[in-house]
């Protein structure tokens, strides 16, 4: 990686007062086009490289690449006296991993693909006026350290995001959805058309909902919205601190461990996943990425670790060390465990079979603001949502202004069936990982009522 060249000699011959050092580089090049009515409405291009310099326990982050490399190291080392780590933190030794993302779509290809996709969606839904943004992101992660590690991994991600506004009578309705992939050919109109049709079908006449406990079908969109916050319940740091409802539940072997999940639920965190452009072959600490099974056959089987928490708990890290976990009012310099593609494995039931199985109950198809409505330490949730009352397996009328309430640990234990579809959602705004889930049938969830 070009940006690390000037620092590489320093890693081989550290200044006398520095015992260990590491430099990580993250380069992100983005190109996007926004298309509406067949015309380019906007475009974005960027190239930014960040350097994370650790020396003797001190840390310096910079985007000013023309700074003198020795000064960068000295700035980090100058802060080492405030650290209790005594080194540059946990480091990978002697790794030489290199991956290449291969051919990436050129500017004109991306623009043409965006225009074609927007046209296919517009023509697939007569009378619609979608705004489509297609983005090509090339991420390069490099890491060098004084323990002879020299890593460079590339990843290409293509994303299509759609915004669409309609009115339902006088009420404005707004849809925002997106899909990611690793090649342009995987970004087709089909999932968008399905999503738009579902969005329209779910706009049923509004009715009232009495507060109470109901058999519930959670749409994959709602489950992923929950997972976008709930994954934090499965980090090594929160487990160690007792700040998760699963504290003490980790299974040590196949026959061991408490039954804390429904047996039909398998939760994984995958370095790469179909229908997702997210993931990387190596994490921010240089650990090669591998698949992690979090929940299997009812037991908690694994946690998302950094090198530090994996070492403390005597476990093997799976390459989950990252930085951009959640929105935060500062630059993400802190290493912490974050997912890559955090997902619930799909089951075998079609949507119709799930509705038939539900018979009489509630189908929740949209939810909001899980960041504020789930407590990751207790598992308690109070999630605002939109739902549809289902009678005899048929969708009847909608209910807005309601919340689902309970504890996620109980919810995950009471899943009775998983849908065969997979809804994939990127982490909004930060775009650093994805979550994915099928629809889940749950034996009972508490609802507050609505006025209709």
């Amino acid at each position: 990686m070009r940006e690390l060249e000037r620092l590489r000699p320093l890693m081989k011959e550290l200044p006398a007062d520095i015992r260990a050092a590491q430099v990580q580089a993250e380069k992100r090049e983005i190109l996007s086009f926004e298309i509406q009515d067949g015309a380019v409405k906007g475009a974005e291009y960027s190239s930014v490289t960040e350097l994370f310099v650790s020396a003797g326990g001190g840390f310096y982050y910079t985007q000013k690449l023309e700074e003198d490399p020795e000064e960068m190291l000295a700035k980090a080392a100058g802060l080492a006296r405030y650290s209790n780590s005594g080194g540059a933190g946990p480091m990978v030794k002697g790794s030489r991993l290199k991956t290449d993302c291969g051919q990436i779509p050129k500017t004109e290809e991306l623009k043409a693909a965006a225009a074609a996709l927007e046209k296919a969606i517009r023509e697939g839904i007569p009378g619609s006026k979608p705004a489509l943004r297609m983005t090509r992101t090339k991420e390069t992660r490099g890491l060098i350290n004084s323990l002879d590690t020299d890593i460079c991994c590339e990843n290409i991600r293509l994303e299509a995001e759609l915004e669409m506004a309609e009115t339902d009578g006088e009420i404005p309705c707004f849809l925002n959805c997106g899909f990611s992939a690793r090649s342009l050919k995987e970004l087709t109109a089909k999932p968008f058309l399905r999503r738009i049709r579902q969005w329209r079908e779910n706009r049923l006449p509004s009715g009232t909902l009495d507060a109470g406990r109901y058999r519930t079908l959670l749409d994959g969109e709602v489950v992923t919205n929950i997972l976008a916050t709930a994954w934090q319940m499965f980090t090594g740091a929160n487990y160690r601190n007792g700040a998760t409802p699963y504290a003490g539940d980790l299974s040590c072997g196949a026959a061991d461990g408490k039954q804390v999940f429904s047996p039909c639920l398998t939760i994984e965190d995958l370095p790469f996943m179909e229908r997702s452009g997210y993931g990387c072959a190596v994490d921010c600490e240089g650990t090669p990425a591998c698949a992690l099974t979090v929940a299997f056959e009812g037991r908690l089987t694994g946690l998302l670790h950094t090198l530090e928490t994996a070492s403390e708990m005597g476990q093997t890290p799976c390459g989950c060390a990252g930085r951009k976990a959640l929105l935060s009012g500062n630059i993400h310099t802190q290493i912490q465990a974050i997912p890559r593609n955090f997902c619930i494995r799909p089951g075998k039931c079609t949507e119709k079979e799930l509705l038939d199985e539900l018979q009489d109950g509630i189908y929740v198809f949209e939810s909001y603001d899980v960041f504020h409505s789930i407590n990751i330490a207790s598992g308690e949730f109070h999630i605002p949502c939109k739902a549809i009352l289902v009678e005899n397996g048929q969708k009847k009328r909608s209910a807005e202004g309601i919340t689902i309430n309970g504890n996620l640990k109980e919810l995950f234990a009471h899943v009775t069936a998983c849908g065969n579809g997979l809804f994939v959602r990127p982490m909004d705004l930060l775009k650093s990982y994805a979550v994915a889930a099928p629809s889940l049938l749950v034996s009972e969830i508490a609802f507050t009522g609505s006025q209709g």
């Binding site: 015309a39 380019v40 409405k41 974005e44 291009y45 960027s46 190239s47 930014v48 490289t49 326990g57 001190g58 840390f59 310096y60 982050y61 910079t62 985007q63 000013k64 690449l65 700074e67 980090a76 802060l79 405030y82 650290s83 780590s85 500017t107 915004e163 506004a165 009420i171 404005p172 707004f174 601190n241 007792g242 700040a243 409802p245 929105l327 009012g329 500062n330 630059i331 310099t333 802190q334 909001y368 603001d369 960041f371 504020h372 409505s373 407590n375 990751i376 207790s378 308690e380 109070h382 999630i383 605002p384 939109k386 807005e400 202004g401 309601i402 309430n405 705004l429 508490a446 009522g449």
Partner: protein, 461 residues
């Protein structure tokens, strides 16, 4: 950074294929972050954010490009890319004027003690005091992370209309994240103490120590309350930070970007009655001492006081340059962004409900059964909004009876602001926090006098 003449070269290059506006946004920001974790100092970090964004408009089409290579060569190359990317149907000959002007500006948040001139040891002392206060605040704190942040942002906006303006924004912040246990279960909470100031913000120890103690007390209160059965009752929201109601219930929907995207319930309602007569809503980026204030917005436009709703009548939207163009409205100083990696868009700053004439006590004493909300956490906005009740009490026969827990206030913004039936006389400020949206996380405040909503559907498990 470039000279003014070099910047003009870049702007001219960006305009060469017929765009009608170009702007360069330079940013050089230094931050420090000190973390206290697991009963000890885990490190001091120095951070340098540095780069430039090039914004090019052609009518209502926009191109945004950015890089952390701010050399003339790199920015000319960026401008060339911009000129290639923009699709101009009717070419216009725009050119950057020879002379640049800088408007007269007033910094609403002057700095007395720059963080960069304050040693790390003093900052560590403040952090230790805060962490110690939280750890000893009573209930069992299972895990505690405390962070100190300061940021010194210097920006330069120069555009093809001849504007050249520089601004400096200094802020400091303490963040506490804790899991608190009552012996049976644990509960996670985080809060920020934000200040649009330099290190002088920590002269009074009682402020940050009080913040830490209150944070732990509030976390415990969130665990201890009783659930509320589903019902429709009057809701009284305390003065100060409960003003987040306005940010989420209608603030986002009054941003020009939401109007232009068709995602707002306020579309086409300028001049119409949209709220109770008691509602006068203002967004003001000029207010001294507030977290959402600055001399100029991130497009170089001087900040201003915008009356959005006056006595229930919709008066204005918050406009940045691009979305103002889409609505045929001028920018009113609301173009904001987290940093150079985001194009500016219309955002709030200090959003508040103006004081009314109603008696604070009567708002509660006249309620036979209802909810009193003392403190609100975060939420989401739009046509349907939601807000987390951090601290609430149940009202019976005009008196606060017991604390409640596990409540989200949800509703339709237009409906709720139409049901405001009391607005108190005393407007109280709030420290503020961050609003996350399309152009990143930006500092904002939102506050109010005590208000009452005549009725709202609420209820927990």
């Amino acid at each position: 950074m470039l000279t003014q003449q070099e910047a003009a070269r870049v702007l001219n290059k960006a305009l060469c294929t017929g765009a009608d506006f170009a702007e360069l946004f330079f940013e050089d920001r230094e931050e420090s972050n000190i973390r206290w974790e697991k009963d000890s100092l885990s490190g001091v970090k120095a951070i340098r954010i540095y780069g430039a964004g090039l914004y090019v408009l052609s009518g209502t089409g926009s191109i945004y490009l950015y890089s952390n290579d701010c050399s003339l060569t790199a920015l000319l190359s960026l401008a060339e890319t911009a000129a290639e990317l923009i699709e101009v149907r009717t070419k216009r000959q725009a050119a950057v004027p020879d002379q640049f002007y800088t408007p007269a500006l007033k910094n609403p948040n002057p700095v007395l003690l720059a963080p960069s001139s304050t040693g790390a040891d003093r900052k560590i002392t403040v952090l230790k005091q805060t962490a110690a206060a939280a750890a000893s605040a009573g209930p069992a704190v299972l895990s505690l992370n405390a962070d100190y942040f300061d940021t010194d942002q210097r920006i330069w906006v120069i555009n093809s209309e001849g504007l050249s303006v520089k601004d400096r924004r200094v802020t400091t912040r303490l963040r506490l994240q804790a899991a608190v246990s009552d012996g049976k279960t644990s509960f996670f909470n985080w809060e920020d103490l934000t200040r649009p100031q330099g290190f002088e913000a920590y002269r009074n120890e009682a402020d940050h120590i009080g913040f830490a103690e209150d944070m732990v007390r509030r976390t415990r209160a969130m665990m201890d309350g009783r659930s509320v059965p589903a019902c429709t009752v009057p809701v009284v929201l305390e003065a100060g930070g409960c003003g987040t109601l306005w940010h989420e219930s209608c603030g986002h929907s009054l941003e020009a970007a939401a109007i232009a995207a068709g995602s707002s319930a306020f579309i086409g309602k300028l001049g119409q009655k949209v709220a109770s007569d008691r509602v006068t809503l203002v967004d003001d980026g000029t207010m001294p001492g507030l977290y959402g204030s600055s001399a100029v917005d991130d497009e170089g436009h001087p900040r201003q006081r915008n009356v959005l709703i006056e006595n229930g009548i919709l008066k204005n939207y918050m406009c940045d340059r691009l979305h103002g163009r889409m609505l045929n409205l001028p920018s009113n100083g609301c173009g904001r962004r987290q940093n150079y990696t985001y194009a500016p868009t219309s955002r709030m700053s200090n959003t508040y409900l103006a004081a009314g004439r109603d008696d604070n006590e009567e708002m509660i004493t006249s309620v036979s059964e209802g909810l009193y909300v003392k403190s609100i956490g975060g939420g989401t906005g739009g046509m349907q909004f939601s807000l987390e009740v951090k601290e609430g009490w149940w009202i019976e026969n005009g008196r606060l009876t017991y604390p409640v827990k596990g409540l989200m206030l949800t509703g339709n913004g237009l409906e709720v602001i139409g049901r405001i039936d009391r607005v108190g006389t005393a407007l109280e400020y709030d420290n503020g926090g961050f609003c996350g949206a399309a152009s990143g996380l930006i500092p904002t405040t939102t506050f109010q006098p005590r208000v009452r909503i005549a009725e709202m559907s609420i209820g927990g498990a």
